[in-house]
Symmetry: C2
Subunit: 267 residues, 2 copies
């Protein structure tokens, strides 16, 4: 594993409740972002609007300067958007630092069912990043980020499609690069935890089922389009579907019975 | 279905891109919120902090005044939090209107794989609400909301556990009621949609697989805790696990091939 880099703890990202569930290590935080098919990105749309906005967006951590950087190293978060959307326009017109954004990704891994509603919980993994979004203007960096995001949906998909994008496609898509200033991750793993006041009452323990319902994302059997002419589902899709289904299920079942140390959990 | 109530279109919630995928009808919006195990809630933590905050939270739409109100009627959004958390403290200290929040829930239903990365898409359902959060102080309303949220995880779970909460439990949990001012929902359903410039090139159509990988949330086999003494998984858990697995899978597979009108889609 080598060195462990950590994000600075600030008033924005420091976890105050269940601190043992939190980590500031880059790797575990980045891995949640990269394995989430959708991120929730918040920004302030207008100084006169009291409400923050949230957009569901596709995004990935990456480094154009050091493309071989691994998940534990400092990375930018690339976000994908339509060229005239509000967040793109705000990022384009913001000052040099960029548009302040908050990026969140959450996975629910299980429903933890206990003797009393108050002790009920979720097993989950949640990452939050803060940073400044600016528009990517360099064509090569834009292409790097587009490939990164296409391959985040299905690995190697980019090389199995018609590329490169033509001029019209390049200009209709915008990419934001978010320079991360801090981040945190919070987990809950393990089985039910009831209080003694309930566990010592046999009329409760003999009648109330306690345990965990594992929860995980599943990919179904790929369904060809009416115009598809390729007979077999290609290996780059088949292998990803199968391996992700297996690892998602295994993670949810594992944390239903085993409490993992949050720092070392890079799933 | 009877009457259809709609949220007002404001500058905050009006969808400008792919307008045909949007709806402002209360029912379809509320149903996404209620079937999402986690919501992302954004707020401005501090006037001196440039970054909005996002918290993953448990929440449900409901009406304490009219508990029999159905999903198409005006409802509040109840959110659950620890008593001294930042969002609870801000809501407690905010003026009478409450803390402005944005609430988002998103479901990814499929990866839509086309001839070129530019046409790749997701099938998804996404709801966004804006409103003002205040702390629930009435004990009966608090109990109503706690039952609502427990039963949102597993229907009828509340009545199958040790209730009511005792005084310590009631005072350690806070409930926010968000008065909704506007909302919107956006969907994408259906199969791949490629452009003619690509579909007319046989060297592409004969070599690139196009179709949809359905994506859906699955509940695994319930795993009893080491201290559980109830032999069979109870019916309220078993039936929900089975029926949700079936309906989640069926929805993702259905929208992989059928384009649904967004207004009538109340899943």
């Amino acid at each position: 594993m080598g060195k462990t880099l950590v994000y600075p703890k600030t008033s924005s990202n420091t976890v105050n409740r269940y601190k043992d569930r939190a980590t500031y290590d880059l790797g575990p935080i980045h891995s949640i972002i990269n394995s989430s098919p959708v991120l929730h990105v918040s920004f302030s749309p207008d100084p006169n609007d009291p409400f923050p906005a949230i957009l569901p967006m596709l995004g990935q951590m990456g480094s154009f300067e050091y493309p071989s950087a691994d998940i534990n190293e400092p990375l930018d978060c690339y976000l994908h958007g339509y060229v005239s959307s509000r967040i793109i326009n705000l990022s384009r017109s913001s000052d040099s630092e960029g548009l302040p954004v908050c990026i969140a990704a959450t996975k629910i891994d299980g429903f933890v069912l206990t003797l009393t509603p108050n002790s009920h919980s979720y097993n989950y993994r949640s990452a939050v990043l803060h940073g400044y979004a600016t528009l990517v203007t360099d064509a090569q960096e834009k292409m790097y980020a587009m490939k990164l995001m296409t391959d985040s949906v299905i690995p190697n998909r980019w090389d199995n499609t018609r590329v490169p994008p033509d001029n019209a496609e390049m200009s209709s898509t915008s990419i934001l690069r978010v320079k991360i200033v801090d981040g945190s991750r919070k987990n809950r793993t393990g089985g039910p935890s009831d209080e003694k006041k309930d566990t010592q009452r046999s009329e409760l323990t003999e009648n109330i089922w306690t345990g965990v319902v594992p929860v995980y994302e599943t990919f179904g059997e790929p369904i060809p389009s009416p115009s598809n002419k390729v007979k077999e589902v290609p290996e780059h899709i088949r292998s990803y579907v199968d391996s992700t289904n297996e690892s998602n299920r295994a993670y949810a079942e594992n944390v239903a019975v085993n409490k993992l140390p949050s720092k070392s959990d890079t799933n």
